[in-house]
Amino acid sequence: MIQDVTDNEEIEARIGRLRLLEALLFASADPLDEETLAGRLGEGADVPALLDELRRHYAPRGVNLVRTGAGWSFRTALDLGPQLRAEEEVSRKLSRAAIETLAIIAYHQPVTRAEIEQIRGVVTSKGTLDLLMEHGWIRPGRRRETPGRPLTWVTTDHFLDHFGLETLRDLPSVEDLRAAGLLDSRPVLLGLSGGEEAPARPPAPAEGPEPG
């Protein structure tokens, strides 16, 4: 495999290049073509030979070095696919509306759907609450004792679990959010409150000016 080695120094250099090649391919988000790799490995690197050595090293392992149209990359071994994907469920990004709805339920619970809509200022799409409930983050709470007896929504233990909270009381308050910079504070108008904080002062003289 290593035919052109003449001395220890050369072996070391080759191992160094192999290690760098391995790390470059591992850390790259995209497949790397041989030209790019040659640029990174520097003069005197026989990139095709190094790639071949690496490919053969990984061939029997759980991770393989594969060549795709764009270049070379590590992928998990094809035959392990079924075991890796045993419980496959591609992770999805939750929509902004769903995150916001969840946040409002967390902070305002128990809260009815109408209240959520009032707070958000938009109609809650049918699927949003279903989605949050399906995922086990919210559940129906008690009915509100008002006309129509609307259902309220509350968060679940799974919600606490997911977000690493011990209790709901550990949710940062609005003040905490503001202090942490998650809420830009709007300008505050100071000194325009009423007279509560006015210092005690003798009442202004009541007697009006005597007309002359």
Partner: protein, 261 residues
């Protein structure tokens, strides 16, 4: 290793204070600056001279004043506190419940040690091999959701950020500035001009104020407006003012032709 420093740091020199003023932006507040000054003493922080430190800091504040540098309030609070500490260290301790000068000095020394310890810890922490800088994770992770903790990628940060954004949007949309009722100076000038016509001689200013007292915002603003109005009228030569001493009542009367300036 500090044994060789026979002559400990020189007395606070103006040069030091000037340098401090120059690099003021480099400090994270007064405690940070004190720590930098303390390091100049080249002794272990546990053996630092707090008195000398106070002198150096006060020299810095004096220098900042000399070059008319505007210091943040916390720098001035610290200066006042150090001046107080200095006086407590220099004069015999009064017996009382207040902490002694030594206690206060020890507390300051502890704060400096603690801050220095955290700065060193921060430096050591940042010097550690860091992910994304010194070592790298798999660049193209495969979407296997191995953890199975959640189908959705939502962090607590996302949740809080969403609520913060919602809150900000909402607060922004309902922000209404309540109309503020204040007594205007123009109104006060008009009112005073009218009333003065009925007043023959020195009359206390407060008696011109409209009913309602001065314990409301409107009342206080009317007091201020009327005071400014008398100044305006006096400047125009239409009234004369008199006050017998600081904080005593202000008297107003119509200007006499013969006393006009």
């Amino acid at each position: 290793m500090t044994a060789f420093e026979e002559d400990s740091a020189p007395a606070p020199s103006e040069a030091t204070a000037e340098q401090l003023v120059l690099v003021l932006d480099g400090f994270e507040g007064p405690l940070d600056m004190l720590l930098a000054l303390g390091r100049e003493q080249k002794v272990d922080l546990t053996r630092i001279s707090i008195l000398q430190l106070a002198d150096q800091y006060l020299a810095f504040v004096a220098e900042a004043r000399r070059v008319r540098l505007e210091l943040a309030a916390d720098y001035l609070v610290m200066a006042a506190w150090l001046a107080y500490l200095k006086s407590r260290l220099l004069v015999p301790e009064p017996s009382g419940e207040e902490p002694s000068g030594e206690d206060m000095a020890a507390a300051l020394a502890f704060q400096l040690q603690r801050l220095e310890a955290m700065k060193e810890a921060a430096a050591k922490l940042m010097a550690r091999p860091r992910l994304g800088i010194d070592l790298f994770a798999r660049g193209a992770p495969e979407d296997l959701d191995i953890r199975r903790k959640s189908v959705f990628e939502v962090s607590l940060y996302d949740l809080l950020k969403a609520y913060g954004e919602h809150k900000r949007r909402k607060d922004g949309s309902v922000l209404q500035i309540a109309p503020v009722r204040l007594y205007s100076i123009e109104d006060a000038v008009r009112r005073l001009s009218e009333l003065l016509g009925h007043v023959p001689d020195w009359t206390v200013l407060s008696s011109f104020l409209p009913d309602g007292g001065t314990d409301t915002l409107l009342g206080r603003s009317s007091l201020a407006a009327h005071f400014v109005a008398t100044l305006e009228l006096a400047k125009a030569g239409r009234v004369e003012l008199r006050q017998d001493g600081a904080f005593s009542p202000i008297y107003v009367r119509r200007a006499r032709p013969d006393t006009e300036p």
